[in-house]
């Protein structure tokens, strides 16, 4: 059992969800409520990680984050360490490939709020910020929760992109999914089975909890 890899995966998933929360709310809300030129392009870009093979996606991220790229050079200059094959690089990649899992459910959540409810918030004298906190977020909560769980679970399980951008450095970029692959390659079937079972239980538990929460919220909203 590779506890370091598990801890790294959990940390990666938690940071990803935390950082995606404001991004998902902002972009999801924008896509739900505003019509603007190029909206179709933005939606397509957001959905791209769903259809692109992870290795292809990982390859482009590797190129984009590499020491030869402007992003990689900027990172090196700013933090005195490379972006590829580090936890930070993995985290940024994780945020990017989780965009559709975070944004789409949140967008649906905001779209589900009737326009007159939002108008009512304004007519009640709520500023846009207050309306967001008191009305929109509580009502879009099922979508937001789904987005968080999907991103978390997806980060735990992602393999191709992690391998491309992060490699398999213990304690830095070796996630549990990579560790399982390593163990299988080393014919350590026991460790692979243990870790797979743990990941299965973890995933099942998160999904079950989400469904239970959604049902409760659904009942509460009538």
């Amino acid at each position: 059992m590779d506890w370091t890899a598990l801890w790294l995966s959990l940390r990666l998933a938690a940071f990803t969800v935390l950082l995606l929360l404001p991004i998902g709310i902002a972009v999801g809300r924008l896509l739900a409520y505003r019509d603007f030129t190029g909206k179709g392009v933005v939606e397509a870009l957001v959905a791209l990680p769903l259809v692109l093979p992870p290795t292809v996606f990982g390859y482009y991220l590797l190129v984009a984050f590499g020491a030869a790229s402007p992003i990689g050079q900027f990172w090196q200059a700013a933090f005195d360490r490379p972006l590829v094959f580090t936890f930070e690089g993995l985290l940024i990649a994780s945020i990017i490939f989780n965009l559709p899992f975070a944004i789409q459910p949140m967008q649906r959540g905001f779209e589900a709020i009737a326009p007159d409810i939002r108008e009512a918030a304004a007519c009640c004298g709520m500023s846009p910020w207050r309306a967001l906190l008191a009305v929109e977020l509580p009502l879009a909560w099922p979508g937001i929760l789904t987005a968080m769980v999907l991103s978390f679970a997806h980060t735990l399980g992602e393999f191709g992109i992690v391998l491309m951008v992060g490699g398999s450095i213990p304690g830095e970029t070796r996630t549990i999914a990579i560790a399982i692959y390593d163990r299988v390659q080393a014919f350590d079937d026991r460790a692979a089975a243990q870790m797979s079972a743990l990941l299965l239980v973890l995933s099942l538990a998160t999904i079950a909890l989400t469904y239970a929460f959604s049902r409760r919220i659904g009942r509460r909203l009538g």
Binding site: E119, A121, C124, M126, V135, L139, R220
Partner: protein
């Protein structure tokens, strides 16, 4: 309740929703915006509330200008003191009745706000139901929460968007009485949007008739339903007795104007401004059509007597609604009598009948293009 100034609304745009509306509503006055669905009524309310921005608009309440596109002023919706009751109430489903009312209160200590929110719920007869969520309330109760929430802001203007359309008939009757009572304590302009003419007649001090976003006529309800400005308004306020005629002269004593209609001469209230030969559209509200008894003469028998053949008979509750065909006019004359009168006089389809059109009830309007 807070007192403010009059609401003055002027809206104009060609697209996407055509608007050409202007009206005023004084403090304490209920102004009904009446028109068929799709006539832009709700859009006008949203423009007042600030959730919709028409191309050209000027909206002011007392000294405060809320929208003035000419000087690029538009106060955001949340900074306009409006109380709005939405068609489907738009209550916040995740908040209790009390929470919904509190959501519209932002000033003063929390304790005071809670006391005032409770008293508002008492005012709309919802005491004891503060903790219920909207899903646990009936349609009528939800409407009351919406009214309490709208008043909670101490609005300068109260906007009611078809507030009675989502409740059953008996609840609606009860809510009418409650709103009529509530009106007495409201000192702000109240704009009521409705497609139900009876509702407007019952609740409004003044009415504005709207069609395709255009305000056609404003006035007290009786003025609109008895003296519409045009055939279009007449039809929108449900006046069905609309006919084409021509002025054929003036009588001196007693003064009256005479019009020719389908080979007959009708006496109408004096309109010396209309010269002989002027084509007119005339209208008579059903209340000014008198049916004569068969056995003996009745009041007004000599006033514009008309013979015809009864075409349709429809008894609804205590009244019988009849239509009388008068040759060669294409459209029948509609009128109503108490059901027992219809029975006693043998008013049935195919029977002949005599009616009088009371001169004071006949209203002349500019002739319209095409038949009614």
């Amino acid at each position: 309740m807070s007192a403010g100034g009059a609401l003055v609304v002027e809206l104009r745009q060609a697209a996407p929703i055509p608007l050409d509306a202007r009206f005023t509503c004084n403090p304490g006055e209920v102004m009904a915006l009446v028109g068929p669905s799709g006539s832009g009524k709700s859009t006008i309310l949203r423009a007042i509330a600030g959730t919709y921005r028409p191309r050209h608009a000027r909206i002011s309440v007392g000294d405060e200008v809320w929208t003035d596109t000419a000087s690029a002023q538009a106060r955001p919706a949340h900074r306009r003191a409006v109380g709005m009751v939405f068609q489907n109430y738009a209550l916040f489903p995740h908040m209790s009745a009390l929470g919904n009312v509190l959501a519209a209160m932002h000033e003063g200590p929390a304790g005071e706000r809670a006391v005032r929110a409770r008293s508002l719920l008492e005012l709309v007869h919802l005491g004891g139901l503060e903790a219920r969520r909207p899903a646990e309330l009936s349609g009528g109760q939800q409407q009351r929460v919406a009214v309490a929430r709208a008043l909670a802001r101490e609005p300068q203007v109260l906007l009611l968007d078809e507030p009675f359309s989502a409740v059953d008939k008996s609840t609606r009757q009860r809510l009418y009485r409650e709103i009529a009572q509530l009106r007495r304590v409201l000192a702000m302009p109240v704009v009521l949007v409705t497609h139900d003419l009876d509702e407007a007649l019952l609740l409004a001090d003044r009415m504005t008739v709207l069609h395709h976003g255009r305000t056609l006529q404003s006035g007290v309800p009786a003025e609109l339903t008895e003296r519409p400005a045009s055939a279009e308004v007449a039809r929108l306020v449900d006046l069905r007795n609309l006919f084409e005629g021509e002025v054929c002269g003036q009588r001196e004593d007693p003064p009256a104007t005479l019009i020719a209609w389908q080979g007959r001469t009708l006496e109408v209230a004096s309109r010396p401004d209309l010269a002989a030969g002027t084509p007119v559209t005339w209208v008579i509200p059903e209340g000014y059509v008198v049916a004569h008894r068969r056995d003996r003469p009745s009041r007004g028998e000599h006033e514009n007597p008309i013979d015809g053949c009864i075409e349709t008979v429809l008894t609804i509750g205590p009244s019988t609604h009849l239509s009388l065909r008068v040759e060669p006019e294409r459209h029948p004359i509609h009128f109503a009598v108490p059901a027992h009168v219809a029975r006693r006089n043998g008013f049935e389809a195919g029977a002949s009948a005599r009616i009088s059109l009371l001169a004071e009830g006949i209203h002349l309007m500019p002739a319209q293009a095409g038949a009614p």
